[in-house]
């Protein structure tokens, strides 16, 4: 590797040793001892700006080496910038590889971007609200004026504290296009979001925890939401087809009994009926009660095993006239279900407990059906299918809201939840 191009000289201000790692490329360097900015374009090493500021400790030290995108990079420069209006700060690390040139690592609120300057003419860059680049559409996220707050290391351009650039950020997560303009030039930088863990691993360092949502941070499920919804719709459709094919069931017994006034404690029975296979069973009772009630204890008894399945139905119906207004409550029909009743011969025992019941007794009609389509089964399955896509959708929406809350150019759908204060 041609990495032995490190060159050193004495700082013309303090005499400390200044190392140049990208010799031949670097045109300005900052003394690590006194922070004096030195012209390194030739061997005169003139002072551009004298300073006495002590060197700061940065998250990634100058000279640190790390592998990103399978390429070994060395950190040679560091710039701290701030936005003049929002007073938000970010760090830019200049990376160098003698074969691949320069890249940047940009950090803001613990979020990181790996960036490179692009040499493509984008005529609308900085003006338009949307920019197309390599088949992707970038939306404007913010415009501002940045100022250099602190400089350390060496650079292939002249940079000094106080330098100002107008900038516009466009985003197409996980990418961000930044257009910077000053009196001399226009620079377009394309950045891609990388997780802090990747930077930590690359440079063997520990970084502060990230906070908030970065402008170009990939949204959760950003590339999977479409597939998730396709699977969801397909599953629900298949479930619906299955449910429709169940039909409305097969009648296995229809019994009509009359409970005489003297038979209040009698147990009635339906004829024996057969279930050819395991199935559900629905018992529907109709009792013409009026301002009265009837309780029916139903026991489904297997003729061979004597095993019984029980349920209780309470049928009550009340109606009347209050100040000319008719009212009613309850009903005269009740339905109960038996789950997964094994094949066999069965009879239904009916143990009525009537309310007032007049002298004429009471009629009870009982219909028993098997293999009835149980829509509650479908809706329970539907719930378990829909819960995750719904969560993913809502979380994604919340995330996008967070992303755009710091932007003046939020799409209308994300700009309605702004704080009032």
């Amino acid at each position: 590797m041609a990495g032995k191009s490190v060159k050193s000289f004495s700082c013309p201000a303090c005499g400390g040793i200044v190392e140049i790692r990208a010799a031949g490329h670097t045109i300005s360097a900052v003394c690590a001892h006194c922070s004096t900015l030195i012209d390194t374009a030739n061997d005169n090493f003139k002072i551009i700006k004298k300073d006495h500021e002590a060197s700061r400790i940065t998250d990634i030290p100058i000279g640190a080496k790390g592998v990103l995108d399978s390429i070994k990079w060395e950190v040679i420069g560091y710039v701290e910038k701030k936005d003049k209006s929002s007073m938000s700060y970010w760090d830019e690390y200049l990376l160098f590889n003698p074969y691949f040139g320069f890249r940047f690592l940009v950090q803001a609120d613990g979020h990181w971007n790996f960036a490179s300057v692009i040499k493509r003419h984008l005529p609308q860059a900085g003006v338009a609200s949307e920019i197309a680049l390599s088949g992707e559409s970038y939306s404007v996220y913010c415009r501002g004026l940045s100022t250099v707050e602190y400089v350390k290391g060496e650079f292939y351009w002249r940079v000094r504290k106080g330098d100002e650039d107008k900038y516009v950020d466009y985003i197409a997560p996980p990418k961000m296009l930044t257009v910077e303009k000053n009196r001399q030039e226009v620079t377009e930088t394309l950045a891609e979001y990388i997780e802090p863990e990747v930077v930590e691993k690359a440079f063997g360092i520990e970084l502060p925890t990230k906070t908030g949502v970065a402008p170009n941070q990939p949204a959760p499920f950003h590339d999977k939401l479409g597939s998730i919804w396709k699977i969801t719709i397909l599953s629900i459709f298949v479930g619906l087809v299955i449910q429709w094919n169940m039909g409305s069931g097969t009648m296995v017994n229809s019994t009509h009994i009359h409970i005489a006034h003297t038979e209040r404690d009698k147990t009635f029975s339906t004829p024996v009926f057969n279930l050819p296979n395991s199935s559900n069973l629905f018992a529907r009772s109709m009792v013409p009660v009026s301002n009265d009630w009837m309780e029916l204890d139903l026991s489904l008894v297997n003729e061979e095993t004597n095993k019984a399945y029980g349920t209780r139905q309470v049928i009550e119906y009340y109606s009347g006239n209050d100040e000319g207004e008719y009212w009613s409550e309850g009903g005269q029909v009740e339905e109960s279900s038996f789950s997964a009743v094994p094949a066999g011969n069965y009879r239904m025992l009916i143990d009525p407990s009537p309310g007032k019941m007049g002298d004429n007794g009471m009629d009870v009609s009982l219909e028993i059906k098997r293999n009835v389509a149980v829509w509650s089964n479908f809706w329970i399955i539907f719930f378990f299918i829909i819960v995750f896509p719904l969560y993913a959708f809502l979380y994604r929406w919340y995330f996008e809201n967070k992303r755009w809350e710091n932007s003046d150019y939020a799409p209308a759908i994300y700009s309605s939840g702004e704080s009032d204060d």
């Binding site: 789950s339 293999n371 149980v374």
Partner: protein
């Protein structure tokens, strides 16, 4: 993740098919509908 979700959904649909085939009613799962055999004896002829 998409694959896991696909398997999850397929399992749920398979569960619906099985429940319909066997006659399960999910809402009855927490109800005990089976008595002891003796309780039916008093009715049985």
């Amino acid at each position: 993740m998409t694959r896991i979700f696909g398997v999850y959904c397929a399992s749920l649909v398979a569960m619906l098919v099985y429940a319909n085939y066997q006659g399960y009613v999910f809402t009855n799962i927490f109800e005990s509908q089976s008595h002891a055999a003796q309780s039916a004896n008093r009715y049985h002829k």
